[in-house]
Symmetry: C2
Subunit: 271 residues, 2 copies
């Protein structure tokens, strides 16, 4: 069975500096292509940084879909024949902004997802999305997109899985928090569970680089359809490049025993 | 904050030998009480064993709610002032059987749950339940019950959590399967995720003792409302006794940031 090479580029966006972040993301996409990646995932709000004081500050750095960052990503996707999934601060109408992610295919198709479940002070800044995670039939398989805290809602992860996603790409910015010694960060544990109960691959790309006092798990991870990590899955608060070759077609087989199917075993009439 | 002592008794039921299993479970309940437990959890199908060839074999060892095993558990719950949660093969009408669990309080109240999501050949043997997991207001907190494969359906775990459960007690029989070296068994990972996304404690009691060629994870675990293990969480294919003192009232606080609440953040209109 042929595999798809997926790379997560755990980077440190610089708050409010879109030009710096554009350059950084461009280099990361080129680097992934050099590694042979067919899909590259970058962090949440890669284009803008994360810890905004207020909506105006986010608006000032935000970009529309024809802005310079998405334009660069489109150019590179085409030039390098690579699928790019990355987060950006999307400029909406009336001074509003969304915490969005772009999925860009080499042919130029752009799919945008707006984060529907907002974390903490994001609620004061971003307008939440109202559309389900997209599932895009790409040249390498069906790819879905969601963002960070969305992953903590198993109902939300079910939607693209039921819609047939093989690989869920999730730009994240996981704020660091205490955990018991020796324990894998809970965010990673939830990614594993989401993958296994849906038999769907998941690539979550975290960030590093303290921002206004906030540090990050640095826990980028790529898990297989059984929920076991193929790359990453530790807290590493530095730049890191995750590479995994995934047999995405395994996600089409939802059978887990002679009589069990992770989706057909659901009893929606009871939920 | 006062704590509740919960004990999981990972035992080896003997297939088809209700008398042996009754004795074994009685000793385990007494042992838990000696350890100061207020709640004791025993494995799935503790009363009967698991790997039945067919429905008739299960029927032959099954018991009604006034049978000798539940009668013993009731007597011990009252005598030892302990809450007992344990699995049994329930005799239904017309030759049918259910994979059930009893929650028995010291005052004598019996709550029965019938497994709604059946694993593998269980589908050929047991009649699935059609009622949601019960949430019982006990003297030590609100306790819910479900069984084994039910835990793999996050929608199902949501129901008792939304109904206010502090602690979910889950008798399980987790069949062993290969996993990558160094990885925690996926069943435990899913328990952790279920707990964290609901801020609900979970005590899952597995079994040991190979039965007709089937071996078990032996992965009993007690996790806190953040999803981190307080006891167990390794594959130990032997008898083991897990003890944890849980601040169950922490489950009443669903807040995970200044602006986030694990249940109020759900957007059911979108699911």
């Amino acid at each position: 069975m042929s595999t798809v090479r997926v790379v997560c580029q755990q980077l440190a966006p610089c708050l409010g500096n879109a030009e710096h972040n554009r350059h950084l993301s461009g280099e990361a996409i080129r680097g992934a292509a050099t590694l042979g990646a067919q899909v590259v995932v970058l962090p949440e709000l890669m284009q803008s940084g994360y810890v905004f004081n207020d909506r105006q500050e986010a608006f000032d750095v935000s970009e529309a879909l024809d802005g310079p960052t998405l334009s660069l990503w489109k150019t590179l996707a085409s030039e390098l024949n690579i699928i790019v999934v990355a987060g950006f601060c999307e400029r909406l109408e009336d001074g509003q902004v969304a915490n969005s992610a772009a999925l860009i295919e080499p042919e130029g198709r752009l799919t945008v997802y707006r984060k529907a479940h907002l974390w903490d002070r994001e609620k004061l800044i971003f307008t939440p999305g109202t559309e389900p995670p997209p599932v895009v039939e790409t040249a390498v398989g069906r790819i879905a997109v969601m963002i960070c805290y969305d992953l903590e809602l198993p109902e939300w992860v079910r939607l693209p899985a039921l819609a047939g996603a093989d690989l869920l790409c999730a730009p994240v910015n996981w704020p660091d928090a205490p955990r018991p010694a020796g324990e894998r960060p809970g965010e990673i544990v939830r990614v594993q569970a989401n993958a296994a109960v849906n038999r769907m691959f998941i690539a979550a790309c975290d960030r590093h680089g303290k921002e206004r006092g906030v540090d990050w798990v640095g826990g980028s991870v790529i898990v297989d359809a059984d929920g076991y990590p193929q790359a990453g899955a530790v807290s590493h608060q530095q730049k890191q490049v995750l590479v995994a070759d995934l047999s995405l077609m395994q996600a089409r087989d939802k059978t887990i025993s002679a009589h069990n199917h992770v989706h057909q075993d659901r009893r929606p009439g009871l939920y």
